[in-house]
């Protein structure tokens, strides 16, 4: 399956990039933009989707400071299928 992992700064954790982008936009004449957050996008082909949560926990994200969701890109659509989370063996 072609999977998409969306990685975001955990709620409440400082997101300097989001702040700077939000501050920059008005100067470019874009008004009314709020709650900007910048994260990472990872897209990959996986044979066994059940491995995805552990992959995310152990390699693709840093669970201490990042949240993530996983989507399947199959059947064209981007229908959301968040998979269950594992506890990460303490970093």
């Amino acid at each position: 399956m072609r999977a998409r992992v969306l990685v975001r700064p955990k709620a409440g954790i400082l997101d300097p990039q989001g702040q700077v982008v939000e501050r920059a936009l008005p100067a470019l004449g874009f008004s009314g933009v709020r709650n900007v957050h910048v994260g990472r996008l990872i897209e990959l082909d996986v044979e066994d989707p059940r491995q995805l949560p552990e992959m995310c926990q152990r390699l693709l994200t840093n669970p201490l400071i990042e949240d993530y969701t996983v989507e399947s890109l199959d059947e064209g659509g981007a229908e959301v299928r968040p998979l269950g989370e594992l506890r990460r063996e303490s970093a």
């Binding site: 300097p16 990039q17 700077v20 920059a24 100067a27 470019l28």
Partner: protein
């Protein structure tokens, strides 16, 4: 008699090497700091867009600084043939601003690298390298995380055929995976030059090799000549 060149070094929020650039410029002329929010270039002969981490390098290196008010003036200045030198983050800003071709991507190592590198002068036909001898080696430090020069094939071919590559990393010296070992390129008009290495950190024998002087000497020679022509 000709007056010394006057340099303007831009200070963005997050610039780090602007004072270093000012000190280097002052070895061959006069140099003032230009505030990112101003629109006055103070009649300088050459603008330096310095190294550092403008806007924290957030979102994309150089992406936000390019929109600073002063950059509009720099763009006009460049279109009118004024000399613009972009160092490291300044190179990234000039690419983002479309004043130089191509873009800079993360080092293949994905790591910040500080290293003294040997550079080959690929062309002396520019206001920035005219004081060099063809094929001359310059020892100048690099320090960046996003220095891998990239341009689409056609653009790259045209850069090469127009002799717009002014500096290349010497054999085995490419620290970031830049295409064609490109360390610095100029625009078609040859009056805008960007490079990842830091010539301003190679001008003082007390602190290391002085390969960077050639760049500043070149700019002095060029402005001398032009000022004489105007006089």
């Amino acid at each position: 008699m000709s007056r010394l060149p006057k340099f303007g070094v831009i200070r963005f929020p997050g610039s780090c090497d602007e004072v270093d650039a000012q000190l280097a410029c002052q070895r061959v002329g006069e140099a003032v700091i230009l505030w990112h929010g101003d629109r006055d270039l103070q009649g300088v002969d050459a603008v330096v867009v310095p190294g550092g981490f403008s806007y924290g390098d957030y979102l994309r290196v150089g992406a936000i600084a390019r929109f600073a008010p002063i950059m509009e003036e720099v763009a006009d200045f460049a279109r009118a043939g004024g000399l613009v030198l972009g160092i490291c983050n300044g190179f990234q800003v000039l690419c983002e601003a479309g004043l130089l071709p191509g873009a800079l991507l993360p080092n293949v190592s994905l790591r910040f690298v500080f290293r003294q590198v040997e550079l080959d002068v690929a062309s002396t036909d520019s206001p920035f390298t005219r004081a060099c001898v063809a094929g001359e080696r310059l020892s100048i430090p690099v320090k960046h995380t996003t220095g891998r020069y990239y341009a689409p094939e056609d653009q790259l071919a045209c850069l090469e055929s127009n002799d717009q590559v002014l500096l290349r990393y010497g054999p085995g010296q490419n620290p970031n995976g830049s295409l064609n070992d490109i360390a610095g390129v100029c625009n078609a008009g040859r009056n805008v030059f960007g490079l990842m290495p830091h010539p301003e950190h190679a001008v003082d024998p007390l602190t290391g090799p002085t390969g960077g002087m050639a760049i500043f000497e070149s700019i002095r020679a060029h402005t001398d000549e032009r000022n004489r022509a105007l006089a």
